[in-house]
C-alpha cells in the first residue's frame, strides 16, 4: 500500500476537465435509470395519482395526504412491522450462524474446511429464482422431502403439513431460505477476518488460562468487530429487499395480504391497484429506512478508502 500512496503524491494532479468527461456516461446512465424515477416518485408521493390519471386526467396536489393516510392504515402498519421484524430476525440469525460457521471453519482441518467451503459456495451461487423454487419443492405439502423426513421422527405428524399456507410457517420457510442463501457470504467474510488473528495471541491467551468462550468473547469478537458490523448492516439492507423470494413463495402459497412484506405490498398498490400516489409514498418510506441503515456502512467504506 505504501508504494501506491507514494505514487499518488508524485503524480501531477491539477483539476482538469478530463475526470468530468470520464464520469459523464455513468452519470447519464444513473440519471436515466434512477434519477428520473426518483424525482417522479417524490413528486407523485404528494399527488393524488390513481386510475383516472392513467387515462390522462392531470394529477392533483394533495400535500402530505398520502403519508397521512398511511398513518391511519392498519394494513400498512401491519406490513411495515412485519417487514422490519422479519428483516431484523433474519439478519440476526444469519450473522450468528455465519459467525459460528466461520469459527468452525477456522477450527477444523484443511480438507474438512474445503468441503464445507465448497458446499457453501454452491448455495451462495444459486440464483434467487432457482433457490426459491427448490425450497418450494423441499417444503411441498404432499411430496416435499422436509415433511417426509420430519414425519419419520416418532411422535411427529407432519404428513401434508401446509408450510406456505399459514403466515407464521410461510415466513419461517422464507427465513430459512434467506438464511441459507446469505450465511455463506457472512462466513467467508468473517473467516477472512479470523485468519488475520495471530496464532501467538490465541496461544498466549490459552497459556494464561482463558477458556474457549473467553477467547471468543475477549479476542475474536473485538478483532473481527469491523467486519461484523459491516456484514450485519448489509444483511439488514438485503433482508428488506426480498420481493423475489416472497413473490415466488406467494405464487406457490397464498395470495392473501397476511403474506405481504413491503416489496410485494408496494407492487400490489402500484401495478395492481394503480394507486401510484400511495405506492410512491410507501416506496419513499422504504428508501428512507434503507438510506438510514446504509449511511453507517457508506461512512465506514469512505473512511477505509481515504485511509488507503
Amino acid at each position: 500500500m505504501s508504494t501506491h500512496t507514494a505514487g499518488r503524491r508524485i503524480q501531477p494532479r491539477r483539476t482538469t476537465g478530463v475526470p468530468y468527461v470520464l464520469i459523464v456516461p455513468a452519470v447519464v446512465a444513473l440519471l436515466l435509470g434512477l434519477g428520473y424515477p426518483l424525482v417522479w416518485q417524490f413528486i407523485t408521493a404528494f399527488q393524488d395519482y390513481g386510475l383516472a390519471q392513467q387515462f390522462g386526467k392531470p394529477p392533483e396536489w394533495v400535500g402530505f395526504d398520502n403519508f397521512a393516510n398511511l398513518l391511519w392504515d392498519g394494513e400498512f402498519w401491519a406490513v411495515l412491522v412485519r417487514s422490519l421484524v422479519f428483516c431484523i430476525v433474519t439478519a440476526a440469525v444469519t450473522v450468528v450462524i455465519g459467525v459460528l460457521m466461520a469459527v468452525l471453519m477456522n477450527a477444523v482441518g484443511r480438507t474438512v474446511r474445503l468441503i464445507l467451503q465448497i458446499s457453501m459456495l454452491l448455495a451462495w451461487a444459486m440464483p434467487v429464482a432457482a433457490a426459491t423454487t427448490v425450497f418450494i419443492w423441499l417444503f411441498d405439502r404432499r411430496r416435499g422431502v422436509v415433511n417426509y423426513l420430519l414425519d419419520m421422527i416418532p411422535g411427529v405428524d407432519m404428513n401434508r403439513f401446509d408450510w406456505l399456507g399459514h403466515p407464521l410457517t410461510f415466513f419461517l420457510v422464507a427465513m430459512i431460505l434467506i438464511v441459507w442463501m446469505s450465511v455463506p457470504f457472512v462466513s467467508f467474510a468473517v473467516y477472512a477476518g479470523l485468519t488475520q488473528i495471530s496464532e501467538e495471541v490465541m496461544e498466549a491467551a490459552q497459556i494464561d488460562g482463558a477458556n474457549a468462550w473467553q477467547r471468543f468473547r475477549r479476542i475474536i469478537v473485538p478483532m473481527i468487530r469491523p467486519v461484523l458490523s459491516i456484514v450485519l448492516l448489509l444483511q439488514l439492507i438485503w433482508d428488506l429487499r426480498v420481493f423475489a423470494q416472497i413473490t415466488l413463495l406467494k405464487d406457490a402459497g397464498s395470495k392473501a395480504s397476511d403474506f405481504d412484506l413491503l416489496g410485494t405490498y408496494i407492487y400490489k398498490l402500484g401495478a395492481a391497484a394503480n394507486d401510484f400516489g400511495v405506492a410512491s409514498a410507501v416506496s419513499i418510506v422504504v428508501l428512507v429506512i434503507t438510506i438510514a441503515i446504509s449511511w453507517v456502512y457508506v461512512r465506514e467504506l469512505i473512511k477505509e478508502d481515504e485511509a488507503q
Binding site: T15, P37, W40, A129, I136
Partner: protein, 280 residues
C-alpha cells in the same frame, strides 16, 4: 490430550454434517431433475436417481415453447448490460482513482448510497417511466434500469483494481517518451484485465439473476427472461398438478451458468463488498 482430540473429531463431524445440510437443496434440485415426475409423485422420495434416471425433464422443459425466447431475452439483456457497464464503469473508475477533482468525494458517496437502494423502493416509478415511453416488455427498457443498478458497484470494484496499479509504472513509461494516454493504454490497461473480468462477471450475475425489476417491466409472457420463465412453472402449479421433475430441470438450467461464473469471481466480490475491513 485425548479430550482435545475427541473435540477436534466432533468439530469435523459437525462441519461435515453442516456441509451436507448446506449442499442438500442444490443436490435435491439436480437429483429431482433426473427423476421423472411420475416417480417423484410416489410417497417415498428417492435420494438417488438410480434406476429411475431420465433426461426427459430437461427435454420437456426446453421443449416448452417459451424456453428459447426467454433464453434469447436473458442473453441479449445480459450482454448489453455487461458491455455498457464495463465501458462506463471503467471510465468512471479511472476518473475517481487517477484524478483528484472537485465533487469526487460526493460522487463516490452518491455511488455507494445508490448501490444500497432496493429495487422495491423504485420499481413503481421505473414502471411508470418505462411504460410512458412505450418500452414495457422491451430489451431496451429493462436494460436502462439494469445498467443504472449495476454501474455503481462496478465502478467501486474497478476503482480498487485501477488504484492497485502503481502510477509510477505509468510515469516511468512517460519518462520513456510515451504520452499519458499511451502510457495508460500500454501499461495500466493490460494489468486491469483480471479486474475487468471480475467486474464483468459481477454485471453478468446481476443481470442474469434479476427477478424483481423483470416482474414489473416485462409482464408479457412473450418478453420473459429466464427467471420469469421459471416463475411460470411455479405459477402454473397453482392450477394444475406440478410437474416437479420439469420444474427442477428448469431450475438447474437457470442455475448452472451462474454457478460456474460465480465460482470464478467469488473471492473478488467478497473483498469488494466488505472493503478494507477484512485486511484487519
Amino acid at each position: 490430550m485425548t479430550g482435545a482430540r475427541v473435540g477436534r473429531v466432533a468439530l469435523s463431524v459437525l462441519a461435515i454434517v453442516l456441509a451436507i445440510v448446506w449442499i442438500f437443496p442444490v443436490y435435491w434440485m439436480v437429483n429431482s431433475s433426473f427423476i421423472s415426475t411420475a416417480v417423484l409423485q410416489q410417497f417415498t422420495p428417492h435420494f438417488f436417481p438410480g434406476e429411475y434416471f431420465t433426461v426427459s425433464n430437461f427435454t420437456g422443459a426446453v421443449a416448452d415453447g417459451s424456453f428459447f425466447g426467454a433464453l434469447g431475452m436473458s442473453v441479449t439483456i445480459t450482454l448489453i448490460v455487461v458491455v455498457v457497464c464495463l465501458i462506463f464503469a471503467f471510465l468512471g473508475a479511472v476518473a475517481i482513482s487517477r484524478f483528484k477533482f472537485r465533487g469526487r468525494k460526493s460522487f463516490v458517496l452518491a455511488l455507494l448510497l445508490i448501490q444500497m437502494l432496493p429495487a422495491e423502493g423504485l420499481f413503481i416509478a421505473q414502471y411508470k417511466m418505462v411504460s410512458s415511453v412505450g418500452l414495457l416488455n422491451t430489451v431496451l427498457g429493462v436494460s436502462v434500469i439494469y445498467i443504472a443498478a449495476v454501474i455503481p458497484f462496478t465502478i467501486w470494484m474497478l476503482r480498487g483494481f485501477v488504484a492497485g496499479v502503481p502510477a509510477e509504472l505509468e510515469e516511468a513509461a512517460m519518462v520513456d517518451g510515451l504520452s499519458r494516454f499511451q502510457a495508460f493504454m500500454r501499461i495500466t490497461f493490460p494489468l486491469l484485465a483480471p479486474g475487468l473480468v471480475a467486474s464483468g462477471v459481477y454485471a453478468f450475475l446481476q443481470a442474469w439473476n434479476e427477478f424483481t425489476v423483470a416482474v414489473v417491466l416485462l409482464p408479457a409472457e412473450s418478453a420473459q427472461t429466464l427467471p420469469l420463465w421459471l416463475r411460470g412453472f411455479v405459477q402454473a402449479s397453482a392450477t394444475r398438478e406440478t410437474d416437479w421433475g420439469q420444474v427442477m430441470a428448469a431450475s438447474t438450467i437457470v442455475a448452472i451458468p451462474v454457478i460456474i461464473f460465480f465460482l470464478i469471481v467469488q473471492g473478488r466480490m467478497t473483498s469488494g463488498i466488505v472493503g478494507g475491513a477484512v485486511k484487519g
